[in-house]
Each structure stands twice: as C-alpha cells, then as structure tokens.
C-alpha cells in the first residue's frame, strides 16, 4: 500500500489503512520510544499513545516532509510529555543528579551492534539520555530542547556534553568504538604506503 493510499485511508478512519501504516512505522517508532522509556512496556505505552495521536491528527499532515519524519516528531513529543508527567524526570535533569552514577561492566549488553549502542544509551541517567536522544539522534537544537524540557539552553548543552562523554566511555569499554590513541595506530596500519 502506498503512503498516499495509507494517508487517504487513515483520513477515512479505514482500519486496513491504519494497520498498514502501523505495520510500516511501528518497529522504528518503538525503537525511538525504547530509547526514552524505562523499559519495553513503557515504550509500548508511549508508542500506543503516539500512534493514536498520529491517526487523530492525520488531517494536519501537509505532505511537506516525509511521513516518517512527521510521525517520528509526534512520537518523540509524546515520549517527552509522558516523561514530564513523572516527577523523577525533572529531578534527573539536574546535572548533579547523574554525577555520582557509575556504569557497571556487567550492565552492558553484548548483542548486536545497533542494539548494543541503544542499550548503552539506555544505561545513561534519564536526563542525560533524554538530551542525548533529542540532540544527537532526533536532531533538535539545544534551544528547542530547552523549550521542550523547560530547562535552560546552557543546561541542555552541559547535559549533552556529560552524556556524550559517559556514553563514549561505555562504548570504548565495550570495544564498540576505539580510543583516540588506538584510532591513530589503526589508521597508520591501514594507510596506503
């Protein structure tokens, strides 16, 4: 079913079109929710809420960008709204909150790379993780993140810097990425003579 047909069907509240749209985008959207959520169940709740919004607001889609991008934006906003309902979330946006946290080696999963990276992101404290998700993956600016999370732009920047450094540390420890020094040695080894 083409995107146009799916959109037209969804506007008519056609169940087959809605299901086709869901089948096409839900796996990717669930992975988006999973990065924000505490666990899979919470992620599925977010996904459900997000898709209901997608269907009910379909008339607002103007065919100006990609449909996936539009759905993704709705899902991300839904995730943020759900997180903001939780008091712990606003606490977690405090920089001092995550300073004392350490990542244990055995907490890092070792499955496939994409999943590994996502699981490593999920090991970050909630505040760090949210900012990193929004900035590095979803492409929001620090200004937008500040507005979205009701924090200062500078707070978003510092949250992101710390999140990035913590994630790098985890990824290096898990050998998903190499240390800068190892990179130089590797590049020298593979460089053409």
């Amino acid at each position: 079913m083409t995107e146009e047909l799916m959109i037209a069907g969804c506007l008519k509240n056609n169940a087959s079109a809605q299901e086709a749209l869901y089948n096409r985008f839900s796996p990717r959207m669930l992975s988006v929710c999973y990065r924000f959520a505490k666990n899979r169940e919470d992620a599925e709740d977010m996904l459900q809420e997000g898709f209901v919004k997608v269907y009910t607001q379909m008339f607002q889609y103007r065919n100006e960008g990609s449909l996936e991008g539009w759905i993704r934006r709705i899902v991300v906003h839904t995730c943020i709204n759900v997180l903001k309902k939780n008091k712990k979330f606003s606490d977690s946006l405090d920089i001092a909150y995550a300073n004392g946290l350490h990542i244990r080696e055995d907490m890092i999963p070792s499955i496939m790379q994409a999943k590994q990276v996502v699981e490593c992101i999920r090991l970050l404290p909630l505040g760090y993780r949210t900012v990193l998700n929004l900035y590095a993956i979803e492409g929001f600016s620090h200004k937008e993140i500040g507005m979205l999370l009701d924090i200062e732009e500078s707070t978003s920047r510092s949250q992101y810097t710390r999140a990035k450094s913590m994630l790098e540390e985890i990824l290096i420890r898990k050998k998903i990425i190499l240390k800068p020094k190892e990179k130089i040695i590797y590049q020298a080894a593979v460089a053409p003579r």
Partner: protein, 500 residues
C-alpha cells in the same frame, strides 16, 4: 570494523546505530490502538469474553435448574392429588390418617402408599372423602402412576346418614400412553367399615388390583351418571396431563444425554512447508531477479529461521451421548494460530516476486510484489505468522475407561474453518523476503483434531483435561500461491462440562 573506528562525528555514529535498531511491538499495542480508534468494533478479544461470559451464565443457570425441576414435580404431584379428589370442591380440611397409613402397605412393592381423608361439606352434610395416591418412583415401573379415589356420598335413609362409597382407579402408563380407569362403588358402607373390611379381607394389606376393588365395592346406580361424567372429565384431564408429561419426559431424556462443554487449549504451533503439488520445479533460489525453474535443492539457498510459538483455541461444544460409550459433538471454536519468523523489518519497500500458480494453465508464474520484511536468519527482529480462525468442530468421543470418579475418552473431529484475519507472511520466490498481505490468506480451510482426555466428576460438573493434536488440511495461503504451508499444533485441553 569500520564502525568501530573512533570518529570525530560521534553524533553521526550514534544516530546511525540508533536508526538501525528496530523493535517489533507486541500485538497488545495494535489491539489497544484499534480499540481506541474503533470503539464500536472491539477486537476479537471481546468475542472471547462473550464466550466465557455466556459459559459462566450457562453454568449459573444450570446450577439453579434442579430447584425449578423440583418445584415443577411438586406441582405435578399436587395436580395429581387434585385430580384424584373427586367432588371435593368445597374441601375445608385435610387430615392424614397416620395409623391407617402405617397399616396399609403394598406387599408387592415397598413404595410408599398414602391414605388421606378430606372432610367436604355439601348441603350441610359432612361428606368425607378418601383418596390414595400410589406411585412407583424408583423401579422400572416408575412411569406408572395410580390413583385410588374413594368418594363418599352421604344419603339420609330413615333418619340415619349412610355413606355411599365409590372407588375410582386411574392408572397412567407413561410408556405406552394408555390410560386405564376402573370405576366401582359400594352402597351402605361406612368409611370406617370400608377401611376395616379392606384391611380384614387383605390381611392388613391393601393390594392394588382391580379384583380387590371389585370384591370390596359394588356399583352404585345413584352415582353412576355422576361418576361417569366425572370420569370423562378426569380422563380428559389425565390425557392432557399425560401428553404434557410425555413431552417433558422426551425432553428430559434428550437433555439427560446432552451436555455442554466449555474449553480452552493452549498449544505449541508450528507448520509444515513445501512447494505446492503443481510445483514440480523449485523456485526457491538465491536469485536476485526472477528465479530459475529447474533447480532441485529446496533448502539450499537462503535458509529460513522459523520457530514454534504459543497458540490457543477456545470454544464450546454440545455433546450428545448416543450410547453408554459414544458421544457426538458439535460446537463453535475460536483459534489463534501462530509461529515465529526471524527477519528484518526494513524501512523501505523492496521489490520481490511471489511464486503463483496460474489457475487455468496450472503453470508456475511470478508476481511482482513489494516487501518490508527481509529474510535474515541473523536478525534480531521476530515477526509472527498468525491467523485468526472460527471453526465448527464436528466429531465424537469414545469412552475407553469408565470409573466411579473419572472417565477416559478418546475422540476426534473435523473442523470446517473460516479464517477471518491474520498475517500470512509468505516467503518470496527468491527466499529473500516475506510478503505480508491479507489477500494471501485462504479464507475457508479445514482442520482435523485428535484428542484424549480425562473427565473428572465433581458434583454436577465434569472437569476435563488432556492432550490434543490439531492439523490443518489445506494450505494457509491462497490456493494460487505455490508455497503450501500447513499448520499443526500440540496442546493441552482443559475444560468444564455440565449436563443439561
């Protein structure tokens, strides 16, 4: 290895990795969304709830039924008594003669015989009436009910009141519907004398034979017309009652042999898969374009990774016992079939082909389709090949073991099935993709099932549990699809049944 190199573009690496990651949401999410969007059309889980709710209601109703039956039987008995008391419309008082009751017993059978007296007033003259009701409840002759009605008509003769006695017997044979009525009357016999004579003549025992009454009483010409009229009326009443009784008896016999059964069978389901019967050439090749016909190694290229998954079926049956050991059954059943496929969900459609059979030429052809599911045995995504079916199980059971508390049954059934939904996930001809379109489902199918179960009796209820095997006779896919996939599952049936 390339990705493991540390790059300055850390964000890009994170984004690419995160975008590569996909997860399959559970079915619950779509069902919840569907129910939110279409509140008037709830998901089939509502149907399951309805079946269970109906089951609970039925069991509740059946558990209260004995009281109703009892009261109806009481009513019948009352009616019999009313029919038996002739000419007693002005009955004021009913007294039991317990002493006589103790004496009057039927030697031939041990069933209770009651004797009661009614004092009726007519023209300021006391007119006592005796009636005796006899019924054989437990024996094979339980269907025969006899009434002995002793009617007294007080007459004044030379200043003294004498009682004229008439005795009426009505026997109802429920088996052959014949109604016999014996009439007799005695003159100048007082009530006490009648009882005394009766007891004396029969050595303290009242027998229920026609001869006995004929020997005790003689016809009374005064009352003959009256009794005849009354007899006609009685005959009519009894005939009506008999017809109604027979109808009830027939109904009860049918219901006694019938029972209703509610059950659920969680099972592990999988599939057999092969090219279709017309598919003499093998299209399952690792070919990027149109597959070559003529290859022989079916499983060589692009292996598939499928695994068994949880299935469930639930429904109800009405079973009818045709003999002590054989039961026939028919019912309605909802099946959820399912097995897992390891694959990759892609974000973009990929062109592929499906091997189809031309209905006229029976030749294998290839149809171009788009797919979002890549066959990848190393993937972490898991999709499910699912169908939702409604079937009518028709079959029977044979009782292998009959013990006091439990029975062992073996049985089988055929199940005409309608597939009302599902995701077929048909493998493409090059085995690189799965195509998931609802039109690929075969809507009408046929299942067979074999089962054995133990039936454990607890009061009025029977609890049943045992293994079951179910096999789908036709392919899950549309008959034009060359790949034939037949589902089977092995499960454990649990249920409860209750006789009507």
């Amino acid at each position: 290895m390339e990705k493991r190199i540390y790059t300055n573009n850390f964000e890009r690496f994170i984004k690419e990795s995160a975008d590569d990651f996909k997860m399959i949401p559970s079915k619950r999410v779509w069902h919840s969304i569907y129910n939110d969007l279409h509140p008037s059309r709830k998901w089939p889980s509502v149907l399951m709830c309805l079946i269970l709710f109906t089951g609970v209601l039925f069991i509740g109703y059946e558990n209260t039924d004995p009281t109703t039956s009892l009261s109806s039987e009481k009513k019948t008995t009352q009616n019999n008594t009313i029919l038996a008391t002739l000419e007693n419309k002005n009955t004021q008082e009913v007294t039991s003669i317990n002493s006589s009751k103790e004496l009057i017993n039927n030697k031939n059978n041990n069933n209770p015989t009651t004797l009661s007296t009614s004092v009726a007033s007519s023209n300021k003259v006391s007119s006592p009436t005796y009636s005796r009701e006899e019924s054989n409840v437990n024996s094979k002759k339980a269907s025969i009910t006899s009434f002995y009605v002793v009617t007294t008509n007080p007459t004044q003769n030379s200043g003294a009141i004498t009682n004229k006695l008439s005795v009426t017997k009505a026997s109802i044979k429920q088996t052959d519907a014949s109604i016999t009525k014996i009439e007799a009357s005695s003159e100048n016999t007082t009530i006490d004398e009648f009882i005394t004579n009766e007891l004396k003549n029969n050595n303290g025992v009242v027998t229920t034979t026609k001869n006995m009454f004929q020997s005790v009483v003689t016809k009374s010409p005064q009352n003959e017309n009256k009794i005849r009229q009354q007899s006609k009326k009685d005959n009519l009443n009894l005939a009506v009652q008999e017809a109604s009784k027979q109808k009830n008896a027939k109904k009860k016999n049918w219901m006694k042999n019938a029972s209703m059964e509610f059950y659920a069978t969680p099972s592990i389901g999988y599939r057999t898969m092969s090219p279709g019967p017309q598919y003499d050439a093998n299209p399952f090749l690792a070919n990027t374009t149109i597959p070559t016909i003529g290859a022989t190694n079916f499983d060589a290229a692009n292996p598939m990774k499928h695994n068994a998954a949880l299935n469930i079926e639930t429904g109800f049956n009405i079973a009818y016992a045709t003999s002590k050991r054989v039961k026939l059954k028919a019912g309605l059943q909802l099946n959820l079939t399912n097995y897992g496929i390891t694959s990759n969900i892609t974000s973009h459609p990929s062109p592929t082909t499906l091997a189809t059979i031309n209905p006229t030429t029976q030749a294998v052809e290839y149809s171009s389709v788009a797919s979002y599911i890549a066959n990848n045995t190393n993937a972490i995504d898991k999709i499910h090949n699912t169908t939702y079916q409604l079937s009518i199980p028709l079959g029977g059971y044979y009782k292998v073991l009959d013990k006091a508390r439990f029975d062992l049954f073996v049985g089988g059934s055929v199940q005409p099935t309608y597939v009302f939904g599902g995701k077929p996930n048909v493998i493409s001809s090059d085995r690189k993709y799965y195509v998931n379109e609802s039109y690929l489902l075969r809507r009408f199918n046929m299942n067979t099932a074999a089962e054995a179960y133990i039936n454990y009796k607890v009061g009025d209820l029977n609890f049943l549990a045992g293994p079951q095997f179910r096999y789908q006779l036709f392919s899950t896919h549309n008959k034009n699809i060359a790949v034939s996939e037949k589902l089977y599952n092995i499960g454990f049936k649990v249920g409860v049944s209750k006789s009507f």
